[in-house]
């Protein structure tokens, strides 16, 4: 045991002195979580995304101003922010710099055409570097245009009357009064069809103790554990890559001609991998709490999940290395295996999106079980459900570790002295 601890200490010291790769692997999950949270929003917050849109009003008429102001009426004002820009060229240039998600250009004579009952066109230019926000801008613009057209058609008689009056020099009070009554009657006529609105936007904050299916809990609480498991697999893989490097470089040879047993060397790698995995997971959990306010659930159970998950990961990676001969093979094969496991296990896409037969395959990945355990603890599911997963991960991890220690022993001895 003393020699195993010595080897673990040596490996930790080496990783500490050359931390770039591990730090890189730790930053990626945090970055992913931030970006996904930013794009899709965090359901822990009550704020919907605001879409910034530039407007160029070449008409500058009452109608064009009415149209633009209608885009930010009511609840839409929380979703869309219109900023007027003097020329289309300037607006396009700003759009290229990513200053807004879309640009609305209202052509000259827009108001005249609308007054005249002719069809008028508005140009919407979307920012190509953004994916989702310009779509939202397009939908809002389409909907508003539709509503605006409907209103113009409903009040067409009144609008015609206003147009006639505007051409007269003297308009009597009686005429204005008649027009007002006409508008009032029209409003009363359509009121029962318009109010109260059939569809409205409502924001709801999910209560914490309510059970929600799949990704129904805060998005950060799903993304961070999901991506973290994938990158912990990569980090643990580094330790075992190092095992092959030690064989190539001759340090393993030197060790085998010391009192050290080769099985002690293998166990030191399994334990180093598990310990580094545990520390990295704790680091990500800590930062997840601080940066994204993730509530990981019961702390004691969380620690047990982290411990057993990393035992399983270390055992699994060790076992996969029993099929690998060289560092080059490891580089190619392990990356593919980890990415496929992440894909199938829910680290990239929630498994509820997969067809049933793929969901069954997901159960053969470490990502699936790790995510299940994290999710159940976050949602505070009954402890008995978590124990089963945790116990499964522990037993499987230990079995794989023991099997690997036997299989790797023979493999590492072979070709040690060239």
């Amino acid at each position: 045991m003393k020699r195993i601890l010595l080897l673990i200490g040596k490996d930790f010291k080496r990783k500490w002195k050359n931390p770039v790769v591990i730090l890189g692997f730790l930053l990626i999950p945090l970055l992913f979580t931030f970006l996904f949270g930013f794009i899709f929003g965090s359901s822990q917050e009550d704020v919907l995304l605001t879409v910034k849109v530039f407007s160029v009003d070449l008409d500058d008429s009452l109608v064009s101003r009415l149209y633009l102001s209608s885009l930010t009426q009511g609840e839409l004002k929380d979703m869309i922010q219109i900023q007027a820009v003097s020329s289309e060229g300037e607006a396009r240039s700003l759009l290229d710099k990513g200053k807004a998600s879309a640009l609305i250009v209202i052509p000259s004579e827009f108001g005249e055409k609308v007054w005249g009952g002719e069809s008028a066109e508005i140009t919407l230019i979307k920012n190509p570097s953004e994916q989702f926000l310009p779509q939202i801008a397009e939908e809002i613009t389409k909907t508003t245009s539709l509503v605006f057209s409907a209103i113009l058609q409903i009040f067409s008689e009144e609008i015609d009357r206003i147009k006639e009056l505007s051409e007269q020099k003297d308009v009597s009070n009686q005429t204005i009064s008649d027009l007002s009554i006409m508008v009032k009657n029209r409003m009363e006529g359509i009121e029962k069809y318009v109010f109260p609105p059939v569809i409205s936007i409502k924001q709801v904050t999910q209560e914490k103790d309510v059970e929600v299916e799949e990704v129904g809990y805060p998005i950060h609480s799903y993304i961070l554990p999901a991506i973290s498991i994938m990158f912990i697999l990569f980090i643990c893989n580094i330790v075992f890559e190092d095992m092959l490097r030690e064989k190539e470089k001759g340090t393993l040879l030197r060790m085998t001609i010391s009192p050290l047993q080769i099985s002690e060397f293998i166990w030191s790698k399994i334990l180093t991998s598990a310990l580094i995995g545990i520390l990295c997971t704790l680091f990500l959990v800590g930062l997840g709490t601080v940066l994204f306010s993730i509530d990981w659930g019961r702390p004691g159970i969380l620690l047990i999940i982290i411990l057993t998950l990393n035992i399983l990961i270390a055992g699994l990676i060790a076992f996969l290395y029993t099929f690998i001969q060289t560092e080059r093979q490891a580089g190619a094969l392990m990356s593919s295996v980890i990415v496929v496991m992440a894909l199938l296990g829910g680290s990239m896409i929630p498994i509820s999106n997969f067809p049933p037969f793929v969901q069954k395959i997901s159960r053969f990945t470490v990502n699936y079980w790790g995510l299940e355990a994290f999710k159940k603890n976050i949602l505070r599911d009954p402890v008995s459900q978590i124990w089963m997963i945790v116990l499964g991960m522990l037993v499987m991890g230990l079995l794989l570790s023991v099997a690997s220690s036997f299989l790797l022993k023979k493999k590492l001895k072979k070709g040690l002295y060239r």
């Binding site: 010595l6 080496r14 470089k249 060790m255 001609i257 050290l260």
Partner: protein, 320 residues
């Protein structure tokens, strides 16, 4: 080919009896027997593929022999592998250490792995770093060291725990003269402290300079074994002549048959290696070549030394 086996004192540190190892159809080590006494520097000299590394890896317990026995300090390697590993030190050809760690951290790690106490280690580390001229640079990572410095650290790692049997596999490959001198001095010093050294090399000068006894190996067999003086006796007083020119093996044979006292070591079209008294025989030989109308491009003469011994035993030159 003649074999020379010399009697040595009883209770050897290393005793190898009828050791054989094959890989498929290749006989890597063929019935090798030898004894090495305590404190002796013993060299395996031979070209690549001679069986030196296979022999040394069996001594280290990394390979199991097909037949034969190895005893180290009177312990059979099969029965007491753990005890034997405790008294072994090894310096492989590769730079077998951790480049991210400092010299001090590396030496401490390898020493602790051998069971050394911290106090003992601290003293030894200081002593050896001073000895190899790296005192003051002990806290620099090894990746910042030059190739020669790394070679020295590689050797010290094998020596730090004062092994009773030190196995060195070509430890001076590709290094400068100063580092080589430094390394050879350290090996001699270890030998003076009763460390037995088994050394593989294909550098003739190094073997001549360092080794108390030398085994010349080729194709898995020991062709000769003894001290430098004893080995030189194999070629006697004769010189070795290497002749290259435009002649066939038959023509060469015909030319040589006209002179007595010349032994053929190796002969093929355009090349011959012969053993002769150069001062007396070369002029006549050249005349014979001339009379036969054969042109000679190059002739080189070698005085009796390890190189000429190797040439006589194997029929080929040993080059680095």
């Amino acid at each position: 080919m003649s074999y020379i086996f010399l009697d040595i004192r009883s209770d050897p540190m290393l005793k190898i009896s009828h050791l054989s190892k094959s890989f498929g159809k290749i006989q890597a080590v063929d019935d090798v027997s030898l004894e090495v006494k305590e404190g002796e520097i013993f060299g395996f000299l031979g070209p690549n593929g001679a069986g030196k590394t296979t022999t040394i890896s069996m001594i280290a317990g990394l390979l199991n022999p097909d037949s034969g026995t190895i005893q180290i300090d009177s312990m059979n390697i099969r029965n007491s592998p753990q005890e034997i590993r405790g008294i072994l030190g090894v310096v492989p050809q590769d730079m077998a250490f951790y480049e991210e760690l400092t010299a001090k951290e590396n030496l401490r790690f390898w020493g602790q792995l051998q069971g050394m106490s911290s106090r003992e280690l601290d003293q030894k580390i200081l002593y050896y770093l001073d000895k190899i001229g790296l005192k003051g640079r002990e806290n620099e990572p090894l990746k910042k060291y030059s190739g020669g410095m790394k070679r020295r650290i590689n050797l010290i790692i094998g020596l730090i725990h004062s092994p009773r049997l030190l196995l060195l596999d070509e430890p001076t490959i590709g290094i400068d003269v100063q580092t080589k001198i430094n390394i050879l001095d350290l090996i001699r010093e270890a030998s003076n402290k009763k460390t037995t050294t088994v050394y593989t090399t294909h550098n003739l000068l190094e073997a001549e300079e360092l080794c108390d006894r030398i085994a010349i190996m080729d194709k898995g067999k020991i062709l000769a074994l003894g001290t430098l003086e004893e080995l030189i006796q194999i070629v006697g007083e004769k010189d070795i002549a290497l002749i290259q020119g435009k002649f066939s093996a038959d023509q060469a044979q015909q030319i040589l048959s006209q002179e007595k006292g010349i032994d053929v070591i190796n002969m093929k079209d355009g090349y011959m290696a012969i053993s002769l008294d150069a001062s007396k025989k070369v002029p006549g030989l050249m005349e014979n070549f001339f009379n036969m109308g054969v042109s000679v491009n190059d002739i080189s003469l070698k005085q009796p030394n390890l190189e000429s011994v190797f040439l006589k035993l194997t029929g080929k030159e040993l080059r680095e």
